[in-house]
């Protein structure tokens, strides 16, 4: 397998990123399009802007490097690195989720979604609304129904 091949990714806002092919194919979407020969050069990545694409590439680079590393001690470091990686504002976090989903990067999708799940855990509905700025759009009747249905969840 050719390892030092480089590919160019083009973000939705026109910025180019040159990366090793081994890093780019962390994304199954990109991998498939390269293999099917439909990729073109540079490979356009619609829907993912340069800010997010840069972060995604950073993630993939780190993970590809870690996989190559000899010693397994890096596992813990990688977990810590991942934890830092997701310390971003919500908007960026959700953009990363969408990008990971579109680009089909399972580990990044798992990481970002677990982060959101952790933000949800344990809070009351009102706290959850506040955390994510969700508007309560129930009618009063629906609200009552919902309260009855889910009362058990709050003991």
């Amino acid at each position: 397998m050719a390892t030092s091949r480089k590919v160019t990714l083009l973000s939705s806002d026109g910025e180019s990123f040159e990366v090793e092919q081994s890093v780019a194919v962390e994304s199954i979407t990109i991998k498939d399009s390269i293999e099917e020969g439909s990729a073109g050069n540079p490979i356009p990545v619609p829907k993912v802007n340069s800010k997010i694409l840069a972060k995604v590439i950073e993630y993939c680079k780190k993970h590809v490097e870690s996989a190559k590393a000899e010693d397994r001690v890096d596992d813990e470091d990688l977990v810590a690195w991942d934890a830092d990686f997701v310390k971003v504002d919500q908007a960026t976090l959700f953009d990363l989720i969408r990008a990971a989903n579109f680009l089909n990067i399972k580990s990044l999708l798992d990481l970002t979604c677990q982060t959101v799940a952790d933000m949800i855990k344990g809070k009351t509905p009102e706290e959850k609304r506040k955390t994510f700025t969700i508007r309560n759009d129930f009618t009063p009747e629906e609200e009552e129904e919902v309260r009855r249905e889910n009362q058990w969840a709050f003991e």
């Binding site: 829907k47 959700f94 989720i97 989903n101 509905p125 700025t133 919902v146 969840a153």
Partner: protein, 663 residues
């Protein structure tokens, strides 16, 4: 028989396989079917006619002719698998090129999948998991666990067998019963992988699958950026929509990747937040995923039956709140004779199994009994085994991998034991087989055991020779070819004891409770709880500091009084139930206590279960059947050891009590 003779011939001959018809089966992968892709078309024409002819002699002739004139393109080891005589689709992939590109597909494959050979050669087979040619990733209904398993087998050069959801080119769903076999060259390097597919209709109506909400957004190629428009009710303010990042995610991502990771309680809680999320959380498929992630696949599989009546949402709720808990009495037929006490019992699926025990005159018994709760009229039956372990009492019986049983220790005719015997309950002729596990733990009785991760037996404490109490912890991994006992070294262990309970929660964590424990030079009933996580690099026992939850309405503190020989049950949601046992003082042994060891501040709660609890206090054995039924059997009433009247603590509601076994 004809098939195996054929198989023997093929194996022994060392030649390449040929296509032949023997009885119902025939060898697949005939030489003429496998040619490099340049010649594929020809190969298809020549080979396929023969195959598709079915069971007339034409095949044989064709096969023989082909064998005479063919070249060996691909050396293969004979002795592959045999298949029933239905048109089988197959695919050959090149294992030496990256990502296993297809180099050959047969016409059966083409007709089943709707893809022509020229459309798929050079690609990896995964496109079958995409719902249509324009899809960008596999469809969410395709089981990712199976896909990982395929990847693992390919990486390790192993055979794979399993079932996977695939799609025709036109989007029709198919069930693909798939076998993948690596082909090695003379140096043992895998050069090709052969895939054999038996496609059948998938009984899914893609228009009415349980999450129509996903289908809508999946087909929408701009799903990521689409603003959610609910079908009913007013549109949310666009401004709010823009501010709220989480609601901008597609249904698929939101439900599949985020909501599914929450506990049932959190799902209900977030379902109270807004309409769209409520709608998503009511989806039965999501609820099942939540249960699977929260409780594990094994437990969820066992609970499947309950959900037919209750649905996953209601079941999750009932198992979380225990609002439907009640005691029930169950009378069964048959008899465990001669009568006995101090036996050991456990559940294997929906069967209860009992082994050994102490008969009259303290005689150790060695017989095995089964009670099948799936039967219309369950009754105890003796299991006829070729040989039994030596008779014993005070031993432990645990279930491994759903249908195997393992016995350890106990007191036999000649003293204390530390042997291990296993039994496959589903074997045609069940036989107890001894497992020699290297250096075994000290012989003992009244120890405690449990099964971790399906097949790891953990044993702790008990009483060894000269009445010495033990405080050790040992593990025997029965998945390995040669299981070896390993002591789990801990810098500190709970005081040595017997008659305590060991329960598993959170997959690899253990909770030890109660028992008769060493306290200075005395032995006292213990009410302490200890935990250990076997997944830790260096597992350590820790005392669990539990408080008593003072209930609403001034209920008194609910810490269970110290006891031994009690019952401890792990529930799907990681909580432990404790009741019964030999308790000092005037406390009622039938009071049920509940503990969630994984809470930040674990506290005991009293569980009020209506109905008639077991009267007897000690000498029980309990088994959990189907994930929600806790059966208490045996126990001394003062007169006799009762085994035909079981007491059941139902954890979730049963609509009808008919023990109707389904088809």
């Amino acid at each position: 028989m004809a098939a195996s003779k054929e198989e023997e011939e093929l194996k022994g001959s060392g030649k390449r396989l040929k296509c032949s018809v023997t009885g119902r089966y025939r060898a697949v992968v005939a030489e003429e079917d496998v040619r490099p892709c340049e010649e594929a078309e020809e190969g298809v024409a020549a080979g396929e006619d023969g195959e598709d002819d079915g069971d007339d002699g034409g095949d044989e002739q064709l096969g023989e002719e082909e064998e005479e004139e063919e070249d060996s393109e691909l050396p293969m080891k004979p002795g592959l698998f045999f298949y029933p005589l239905t048109p089988t689709s197959f695919v050959v992939s090149d294992a030496l090129e990256p990502d296993f590109p297809i180099i050959y597909v047969n016409t059966v494959f083409e007709s089943f999948t709707g893809y022509r050979a020229d459309e798929v050669l050079g690609r990896n087979c995964r496109f079958l998991q995409y719902r249509d040619p324009r899809a960008q990733r596999r469809h969410p209904l395709v089981d990712p666990v199976v896909v990982s398993e395929i990847r693992r087998c390919l990486e390790q050069g192993l055979e794979f067998q399993g079932e996977l959801l695939n799609f025709r080119k036109d989007g029709t769903p198919l069930v693909n019963r798939l076998k993948l076999a690596p082909i090695h060259d003379d140096d043992g390097i895998v050069t090709h992988v052969i895939g054999i597919q038996i496609f059948s209709e998938a009984k899914i109506d893609m228009n009415c699958i349980s999450y129509p909400v996903f289908k809508e957004t999946y087909n929408n190629e701009c799903e990521q950026m689409s603003v959610y428009t609910p079908k009913d009710g007013p549109l949310p303010f666009v401004q709010d929509q823009e501010m709220c990042g989480i609601l901008q995610l597609s249904d698929e991502v939101l439900a599949h990747n985020i909501l599914s990771r929450l506990t049932p309680r959190d799902v209900a809680s977030i379902g109270s937040v807004c309409r769209r999320i409520r709608h998503l959380t009511k989806n039965e498929h999501l609820r099942k995923m939540v249960c699977q992630n929260a409780w594990g696949r094994d437990v969820t599989g066992a609970l499947e039956r309950m959900t037919e009546k209750l649905g996953w949402g209601r079941l999750a709720r009932e198992l979380t709140t225990l609002e439907a808990v009640c005691w029930r009495k169950l009378t069964v037929g048959g008899a465990v004779e001669p009568s006995r006490c101090n036996f050991s019992a456990c559940a294997a699926g929906n069967r209860l199994v009992l082994f050994g025990g102490e008969g009259v005159n303290m005689q150790p018994m060695d017989d095995t009994f089964v009670l099948n709760l799936d039967a219309a009229n369950p009754e105890w039956r003796r299991v006829s085994v070729e040989s039994s372990p030596p008779g014993r009492w005070g031993h432990t019986l645990s279930c491994i991998n759903g249908s195997w049983l393992v016995v350890f220790g106990g007191c036999g005719r000649q003293g204390l034991l530390n042997d291990v015997f296993v039994l496959d309950l589903d074997a045609k002729q069940p036989t107890w087989t001894e497992v020699l596990g290297g250096t075994p733990p000290l012989p003992r009785s009244w120890h405690s055991s449990c099964t971790v991760e399906g097949s790891k037996l953990v044993v702790s404490g008990g009483c060894t020779d000269a009445g010495v109490l033990l405080s050790d912890t040992y593990l025997l991994d029965l998945t390995t070819d040669k299981p070896v006992w390993k002591e789990i070294p801990t810098s500190w262990a709970p005081p040595s004891r017997l008659g305590h309970s060991l329960s598993v929660y959170g997959r690899t964590k253990l909770l030890m409770f109660g028992g008769l424990a060493k306290s200075g030079h005395l032995r006292l009933r213990s009410g302490e709880a200890y935990t250990i996580d076997l997944d830790d690099e260096e597992p350590q026992w820790r005392l669990l500091e539990c408080s008593a939850l003072t209930g609403i309405g001034g209920q008194s503190a609910a810490v269970p009084p110290p006891r031994l020989d009690h019952v401890a049950v792990s529930m799907p949601c990681g909580r432990i139930l404790i009741f019964g046992g030999s308790i000092a003082g005037l406390h009622s042994p039938s009071q049920v206590f509940l503990l969630d060891p994984s809470e930040e501040k674990p506290s005991w709660r009293i569980l009020n279960a209506p109905g008639q609890p077991p009267k007897y206090a000690w000498g029980h054995s309990t088994c959990v059947v189907g994930g929600t039924r806790v059966l208490v059997l045996g126990g001394h009433t003062g007169e006799e050891w009762i085994l035909n009247e079981l007491h059941e603590l139902c954890l979730a509601s049963w609509q009808d009590m008919d023990a109707a076994s389904d088809e």
